[in-house]
Amino acid sequence: MSRRFVCTLTVAVALAVCGCWDQQLLKNERTVSIGGMDEAPKGKLRATVSIRDTTITEAGSKDTSEIHTVVARSTQHARQKIDEEVSGIYSAAKLRVLLFGEELVRNHDIMPFLDVYYRDPKSPLSARIAVARGTAEELIRLKMVGDKTIGLYVDDLLKSMELDAAIPQVNIQTLHPLDRGFDFSLPLLAVKRGVPAVQGMALFNGIRLTETLNLDESRVYLLLTGLGKQNLRMTLQPMEKNKSSGYQYVTINVKKIRRSLKVIVADDQEIQVRLNLKLRVAVEEDPSNHLYKMSVMHNLERLLSEELTDNSKKIIRKMQKAGHDGCGVARRLMAFHPKLWKRIDWKKEYPQVRFDTRVSLEIVNTGITQ
């Protein structure tokens, strides 16, 4: 009898106490879908957020968004200040995209702004992250694009570009600002005729932005750094300049990538990187050639390989100048040549590293015509 009583009491108490302290009801919360950070004078931070709202009418539900901008001391302070402005409890748990203004990450380290995202257990580590040309505020202030709220629009835009393999998949978790021996890069967004668009990649040196690439360059960059995926498309101009316009371009779709990166340290302690890319591609567009002749096809393969090798060399030079080690050469040095690594000053050494880049290409498919 008493045992049963104790059991019942325990269950009743357990049911009564759960969730009392830590319940967070969605109806009380205002969730942010996109947040942006910009530079403000005196080392402060200008944060802009778009809060998503759904109004349900008889005709169905309709998304609206509400934009707030505050100037604050830090990310968490910005959250507090925004909370002072909005009705309901501010919550970043459903954040989809986090934007950084270009000027902010050029002039400041990115790490301090992200700290709160890594510290809070409720933080959205799977939110996408990108750099905005100009300011993030300008982009978020677009508010609605067509029927979509800006947060949803940018998220979908980035997702579709990831599927197209034009930008890598980056979220707050995969960012690794504390990574050793590997520099990260982020997608670069810009407002183009009132619509946000992906413009390329922003390369970081450690935790500061140093260089940007346009979309053509960033595709080659992805191939070089091993972030490239199937279905990466490139429209190239094989080096036959005498053709009339309309005939000089070829579009290829990368089907298979084989990449080998070897870091070689010679006896005289000179660091050399041998980067070999072997691509299998499908030709998707080629108005000038008729690829039924094997000699024409091989010629095209040769020309495309040469052009890609040339482009790669240019991009590697750009990366070296910007101090961006996207290939992870430093990590390989740490892992395989630890003695050398302890001796050198990598920041000085990296621009002098000799890269031997080679791209070879093989056409495996030409569509349903040849």
């Binding site: 325990t10 357990a14 106490v17 009392c20 302290w21 830590d22 257990p121 580590l125 799977s126 979220n171 978790q173 995969t174 690794h176 504390l178 990574d179 050793r180 021996g181 992870g328 990590r331 390989r332 740490m334 892992a335 395989f336 630890p338």
Partner: protein, 366 residues
């Protein structure tokens, strides 16, 4: 003589040992060992696991010489009444301290990850109440419960395996970069994660079968625990950079948190839910051991009566520390007590038993 209904099979013994070993430490292990042995932490953990085998052998050798008796029955035979009582007290203190530390670390992890606003005492009461309910029972009931919940460990491993899509083998290269002294220091550091094998002291007389079968079962159990630990530590080392792992106290949860499946978000909550059961088993095992040692201190045959009081002591000890400093102090106390009673004493007792030829006479069993 032990009644037939209290007996457990060697298979059940295996599960009991595994459940007692795999507990709260699994979350902290990668980070705490990494701080000593850096990227070679996994070697340290393997070394610690191998050392545990030797200790298990010592406990087994000791128990074999006193058939039908648990540790506290033969302590006076080995050491004499006064010293035997002191050692008995040390053992009881270690079990209670270890139990409190486990509950404390569990509650802190729950506070940091799921319930930041819920009072610590409530979570503690809930977990201890369940453990108390189970720990009052005999060994067979506990063993059955442990067998029942064993499958959850695999679920944990499965969730963690998903993190391999972000792994990079180069984080642990070059091997042996920390140097052998650091690796050994790391192994000592991780020894306390393997505590739980001392359950053998209590289980040995209850297990059916030959002593060789028992040893085999415990060896298998320990091998399993070592493999799980090494696997999880290894995964964490591959996923996180050394700089990150230093600032993340619970790397496994952090790793799991970032995973986002199509329908499920925040996999860490699922992981923690499963892990709660695993930790509860550890707390149960320790409560059982504490209660057994306390009741035999007062000459009681049955431990069900002392269990509530032991639970109350555990509750008070684990509620008291409120900052990291105090937690660390408790940790070092447990470390000292543990290394005395779970590492040093089994070997010392075994030596005494062999040197002075103390063992239970076969006729006494009859």
């Amino acid at each position: 003589m032990i009644a037939g209904k209290d007996k457990i099979t060697p298979g059940q013994l295996m599960f009991v040992i595994i459940q007692a070993q795999i507990g709260v430490n699994i979350l902290f292990l990668p980070s705490s060992v990494e701080s000593v042995a850096s990227s070679d932490a996994w070697i340290s953990v393997s070394l610690a696991g191998i050392t545990t085998m030797i200790l298990i052998l010592a406990i087994w050798g000791l128990s074999r010489r006193f058939p039908g008796m648990i540790l506290f029955d033969y302590l006076p035979l080995l050491l004499g009444k006064p010293i035997g009582t002191i050692v008995h007290l040390v053992f009881a203190a270690s079990f209670i301290a270890e139990c409190s530390l486990t509950s404390l670390l569990f509650v802190n992890a729950v506070r940091d990850w799921i319930f930041p606003n819920t009072p610590k005492s409530i979570v503690l009461i809930l977990i201890l109440a369940v453990s108390l309910y189970m720990a009052r029972e005999n060994l067979r009931a506990i063993a059955r419960f442990f067998v029942l919940t064993f499958g959850l460990i695999f679920l944990m491993i499965f969730i963690a395996t998903y993190a391999y899509k972000e792994a990079d083998i180069m984080y642990i290269l070059p091997i042996n970069q920390a140097g052998i002294p650091s690796i050994i220091k790391g192994a000592l550091f991780s020894m306390n994660s393997f505590f739980g094998y001392e359950m053998l002291f209590f289980c040995y007389p209850y297990v059916q079968g030959k002593s060789r079968t028992i040893l085999k079962a415990v060896f298998y159990a320990n091998t399993f625990s070592v493999l799980v630990y090494v696997y999880l530590v290894f995964t964490c080392l591959l996923v996180f950079t050394p700089e990150e792992i230093k600032i993340i106290p619970q790397p496994i949860l952090y790793m799991v948190k970032a995973l986002s499946f199509t329908i499920i978000e925040r996999a860490d909550l699922y992981f923690l839910t499963i892990w709660t059961v695993v930790v509860t088993s550890t707390i149960m095992a320790y409560l059982f051991m504490s209660a057994r040692s306390v009741s035999s201190l007062f000459g009681m045959k049955n431990h069900a009566g002392t269990t509530p009081f032991v639970t109350l002591i555990v509750f008070c000890i684990s509620l008291y520390p409120h900052n990291q400093d105090m937690v660390n102090r408790l940790k070092s106390i447990v470390g000292i007590l543990g290394s005395v009673s779970f590492v040093t004493l089994p070997i010392v007792l075994l030596c005494i038993s062999y040197l002075f030829k103390v063992q239970r006479k076969e006729s006494a069993e009859g």
